[in-house]
């Protein structure tokens, strides 16, 4: 199972669910499509901007690796992966 972990500001779009298990294998973009199927369009609106890119202040990690250092939304998500979806807050 893929484990999707969402920080609470993003989990507003998943009815407050902050850990979601999905029987899934594919790309990050496809994973988010699957989540949107379960929770509705509001999930897409929450994480994507008007151009279909991730919002600038949303960070995605696949097994702890920042997706920007991988293949972005085309990053492969294995069946047992953990994906974190967090607002970008770092340092200070």
């Amino acid at each position: 199972m893929v484990k999707l972990v969402l920080a609470s500001p993003i989990a507003v779009a998943t009815k407050g669910d902050r850990e979601i298990d999905l029987d899934f294998e594919g790309t990050l973009a496809q994973l988010f499509d699957a989540v949107a199927q379960r929770y509705g369009k509001q999930f897409r609106d929450r994480i994507y901007d008007g151009n279909g890119s991730l919002k600038r202040f949303v960070n995605v990690y696949v097994n702890g690796e920042d997706a920007r250092y991988l293949q972005g939304l085309e990053t492969r998500v294995a069946r047992d992966a953990t994906v974190d979806l967090l607002p970008a807050i770092a340092g200070g």
């Binding site: 972990v5 920080a7 609470s8 500001p9 993003i10 507003v12 902050r18 919002k55 600038r56 202040f57 949303v58 960070n59 990690y61 702890g64 920042d66 920007r68 250092y69 974190d84 967090l86 607002p87 970008a88 807050i89 770092a90 340092g91 200070g92």
Partner: protein, 413 residues
Amino acid sequence: MGYVRGLRCRECGAEYPPVWLSVCDACFGPLEVTYEIAAVREAFNRKALDGRSKDLWRYRELLPIFDDGSRVDLQPGYTPLRKADNLAKALDLKDVWVKDDTVNPTYSFKDRPVAVAVAKAREWNLSAVGCVSTGNLAAATAAAAAKAHLPCYVFVPAHLESTKLLLPRVYGATVVPVDGTYDDANRVALLAADKRGWGFVNINLRPYYAEGSKTLLFETWEQLGFELPDVTIVPMGSGLLLTSIDKAIRELRELGEVKDASTRIVGSQPEGCSPIVQGFSSKDGRPRPVKKPNTIAESLAIGDPASGYDAIQIMKRTRGFADAPTDAEILEGQKLLARTEGVFAEPAGGTTVATLKRARQDGRIDRDERVVLLITGNGLKAPGVWNGSFPPLTPVAPDPAAVDRFLGGASIG
């Protein structure tokens, strides 16, 4: 609610009441506190400041605390602004000042934002506080938590300087040494705080936390006789200190306390971790994240800086610039500051000195400009950077002849 109006998103402009909210609910952009400026103007003026306590609470109308009883009284702030004539002469400048935050309660400027964030945690009755830190913030949070009788959890990269790992433990905090970079520690700290409802000062208390850093600029303004410098050089990790300095100037301007004056805001990062500096010169003005920082300036080693984009916009708007000296230049900067002004800064301070030197040499800073350097942390916290810099000391026998031999002769006068 005192003088606070609310929270506003720096990205999309959405407004919120001043509640416990870490990011914009619409776009996840950074939030900043806004004030009822007309009301502040009534109470915050030069005459009123006279006679107030010599700590950061002297600027209380522009700090977002509602309940004075929630303050943790470690008395950070009101640190010396030192006229650095020797340093100025060494670099062929006329008017240089050093804002010396090495002398705060836990020896860095982080005591300022932490004072505000922990006060908010107490106002909201949070059960614990914490932070993710490159070292300085860990000590500051742990000390304030100790005084506030709050449990404290600090997430740090496990490879930090030993002094920076030691201090929070002495203050009684639980140190979580994450086997990875600062950004790895940040990711797991964010999830831990989110899950447990703890107040992490630079994560979910961040909009309030940022306000404390403004006091560096308020003090500088006051200590310069209610004037702003022409240039201020700010060390950058996440870029949040730089955005806070800019916010303080904007607020003084809104209050009518500074009229025509403008300050060029310059940001400095070590070459080995310079995502904001790289972004400054890029076409899109976006920071260029650094996966594996490699620098002696550990306190600035944040590869994915949350306030980087804002910092870049501010440096451009104020006609400042971004600069990234090498580690060797940073070490030389630390030495130069110590040997000209008697101030022992950690590498972040050496970074600003090095930028001043480089910018004077290539003309980005003019000889006649009044410059304030922000020296944000104490050199005693990072002794390891000096390994190999000085030859080992060989003991001298306790007799006068041996001392003469050591000193190279017996001449007097």
